[in-house]
Point group: C2
Chain length 298, copies 2
Amino acid sequence: MKEINIIGMGMSEKTLTAEALELIIEADILIGAKRLINEFSHMNKPSFNAYLSNDILEIIEETDAEKIAILVSGDVGFYSAAEKLVDVLKDYNPNLISGISSVSYFFAKCSLPWKDANLISCHGLDTNIVSSVRRNRFTFALTGKNIPELQKELVKYGFGDLKVWVGENLGSDEESIQESTISELAGNQFSSLTVLIIENPDFDSRIRTGIPDEEFIRGKVPMTKSEVRAVCLSKLSINPDDVAYDIGCGTGSVTIEMAFSAYDGKVYAFDKNEEAIELLKQNCQKFHLDNVEAICGL
Amino acid sequence: MKEINIIGMGMSEKTLTAEALELIIEADILIGAKRLINEFSHMNKPSFNAYLSNDILEIIEETDAEKIAILVSGDVGFYSAAEKLVDVLKDYNPNLISGISSVSYFFAKCSLPWKDANLISCHGLDTNIVSSVRRNRFTFALTGKNIPELQKELVKYGFGDLKVWVGENLGSDEESIQESTISELAGNQFSSLTVLIIENPDFDSRIRTGIPDEEFIRGKVPMTKSEVRAVCLSKLSINPDDVAYDIGCGTGSVTIEMAFSAYDGKVYAFDKNEEAIELLKQNCQKFHLDNVEAICGL
């Protein structure tokens, strides 16, 4: 039976654990992304440049090697390639070897604890980063080249003054860590391997329903009253990751409360009245809700 | 200026990082709990057995050593002594060096990802472990000798059938990992260094208000109606970590909804009617709410 170790390589050779190094030394072959296997080229082991699960499975099926080390970056349990590998390689019953994650590494560099942080990945298209920042003291975000968009989004929804730590190319010789406000990030360029920590000392995790009418920015468009909203929202019983629709949303006071409930989801709101849609957009900014798509039309 | 490194030692010598080892080798003195400094007794460095922040500060103030390594277990950012040390030693501007946390280590051993897990410590008296299990697919809990109490609590509130992974003395020669259901843990003894992962595939993160009347276990005691509850709860606007009081709670239908909102806090409910208090207790079990103290009396 082949022995397969999926090894978290941490942030660099410096953060490699003794156990990981030992298993690499004992391995007959190494498999992983080029950047990772190259670190051990001096060992002259047969090495395979592969990072897609099915490619790795194929290499394992074809090799005669008994001890196989698959190298993955960071830790094996945090947005890691290991998650899919465990599934694809389940017949081989692979071992997972933990490594230093970007979470652990970056919080240490910033002298902050991570135990209460909300951890998100902004590599997907529709991450509710504003929701996370509204609801949590610390948000840790994996980002790519999309920081300019995230920065604009956070400023638009009222979080421009918050403190942010930006970590680029962590663990490498080009490592850079800067502290600033979110507004100050405007116009900067960032590496494709960048992580953020955002601190919101005034975080608020409430799911608000029946918000007092006077808290809304209002125009001439009629608005559903506070108590009616509270009852409607209770009947809807929305899950955090739900997608909800508000057809004929008016000023969007119900939309706003749906968006509080669906903080990991999304609300689509429609109205033919342009003024209503405009008011809804203003209220989304006021209440720090980025998970609403307001559409003017029939 | 003294150079102070607060070093996360991971789960054992095997999980020590290359960086941590290098800083320990370079250090003039070592400070830490006996178990940790003993690992390096072969280096014959002056070593100080201390783990309280103020004791460590005193040692640092009195020593002539320039390079000081403070050893802490696990990672520096997860329920770590490092958190207080950073504050007490702030004039020395210490560096934090990340280590393998029990979270990263144990999830890897169980072949699970930890990115979406809720992380709690049950070392305090009043941890809402039932709330965490109700609201999250995975709960990771640091526990001590209190597993028998936690086990009973979880069974009482309807989670006896859930899957649990129990890790004792992780990283040591006495490491033990077992998989079972929560019910099956009854009667077992556990080490004082034990962690749990609990999986709830039917987790539900909703903050419920205006729960349909028929969902409650009811007796002859009058009950506040669904719509009235929804409006009351919206006016209360309870924070997750609030402590709330329900005086004259009746069957406790409002208490139940307060407990959903205060999932990281607590609700004290009072009624002179014994039957009412009994019904409230039954409903707390039905809705998986362990954060209610129901008191019969005037």
